[in-house]
Chain length 248, copies 2
């Protein structure tokens, strides 16, 4: 299992991903799922992956090794595509290319061709954008109405995002909310595990602002977990007792 | 979809259930899913149901119409079974009886025989207990380590229960936490809807303590929703900004 979330707010983009992969409960490993591509001043891109690890690793390789542009005959890579919308299309093409090579054989072995990606970033001259790309290579984009997108085990961490994230949230607050959402997921699904990779890309900076790995020894994260649990306890204790009686 | 939760704490049992049923997004109705059976001073039982409505309604009918006890030849009902453990077995038998009648034909029509129930209560001379009964008629019981059980759409409402409910929580607090858990689920899954039925059974009282239906006009519930959202906002705003930089 996996949990990744991308939050696109007023002043930037926040991406978080856990690192646990599992083939059954008895086969657990750590793999980075958040991948960053930067040419400072020109482009900054973050990709988070969920689903079959063989598929997502192959797709990432295709993104950097490149695909031939069917119109120009030139090889394009994630470092050369001229806009975020075209990068989203390119990631979709890369997914379909991996499906073309491995899809049928995987199905013959009853392995499902399962991959979902969050793609966020900015190319010079364009806007900071966030997409979710499906295993068919098609995609949707986050908008001010729904400024966050999740992949993997999304349900446990969704209520806090639904309540608190708006397009007006600032990036530092969005990162906190992403960490709270991740914490709720870590507590409820063993398939989602530490360390957590985080990245923040501020609007129009065209570089990675924050890139950090949070592990079990991280003081801020453990302080935040404690603080949050205590604040929740205080919050529900402060609500008056339900006034209901025996009336139906 | 459905969300029901039972919480067994120090001084009592809390049960909550939504009332929305749906066969597709375009076919939504309201049905009570929380059912109470009481002979004051002798027994008090609450059952919450999730899954196929035709199955759960049939099972409830079998519980009150009765099944023949294979050893004594007598008809037993939910009003006569002498202990909560035997009631759990009896509900399991009722589910298997409904499967015997309708299961094969449902499968022929590609309708899945899908039912899960929470069974809580106390029979005089026994303990207050809480069970979750599966569609095979087998069941598990809540214990002090895991004092709550959920059926239906359980993920959105689980983080608050995981963080806040212990066997030492009192029943009034557990009801509040159940309502917060329900609120998170209502916000994230359209298949779970108001009104909400709640029941509280206090330990050794052998009667329903609270039985109430919360609808859209309920002032306590809407105050609680607002209070909770505001408290969460204050709680995450009070956490210091993440101190991370660009270090990986």
């Amino acid at each position: 299992m996996t949990y990744c979330v991308g939050i696109l707010v007023r002043d930037g983009l926040v991406m978080l991903a856990d690192t646990r992969t599992n083939a059954g409960l008895d086969n657990i490993a750590t793999f980075r799922k958040l991948h960053l591509y930067q040419t400072e001043g020109e482009r900054v891109i973050a990709i988070a992956t969920a689903g079959n690890l063989a598929v997502s690793q192959s797709v990432l390789n295709v993104l950097t090794e490149g695909l031939e542009n069917p119109e120009t005959g030139k090889i394009e890579t994630i470092h050369t595509i001229p806009s975020m919308f075209k990068v989203a299309q390119f990631v979709g093409r890369a997914i379909r290319e991996v499906y073309r090579i491995h899809g049928k054989s995987m199905e013959q072995q009853a392995a499902s061709f399962d991959v979902t990606m969050l793609l966020g970033g900015q190319v010079k001259g364009g806007r900071l954008r966030l997409f979710m790309i499906y295993s068919a290579g098609n995609f949707i984009e986050a908008t001010p109405d729904t400024p966050y997108l999740q992949i993997g085990e999304h349900k446990y961490g969704k209520p806090i995002l639904d309540r608190a994230v708006t397009g007006e949230t600032d990036a530092s607050e969005a990162l906190k909310l992403g960490l709270i959402s991740m914490d709720s997921t870590l507590r409820s699904n063993l398939g989602v595990g530490m360390p957590i990779d985080i990245a923040v890309i501020r609007r129009d900076e065209l570089k990675i602002g924050i890139s950090h790995r949070i592990d079990e020894s991280d003081t801020y994260f453990s302080h935040m977990r404690t603080h949050w649990s205590e604040a929740l306890r205080a919050a529900h204790q402060a609500i008056p007792a339900p006034p209901y009686g025996h009336d139906v």
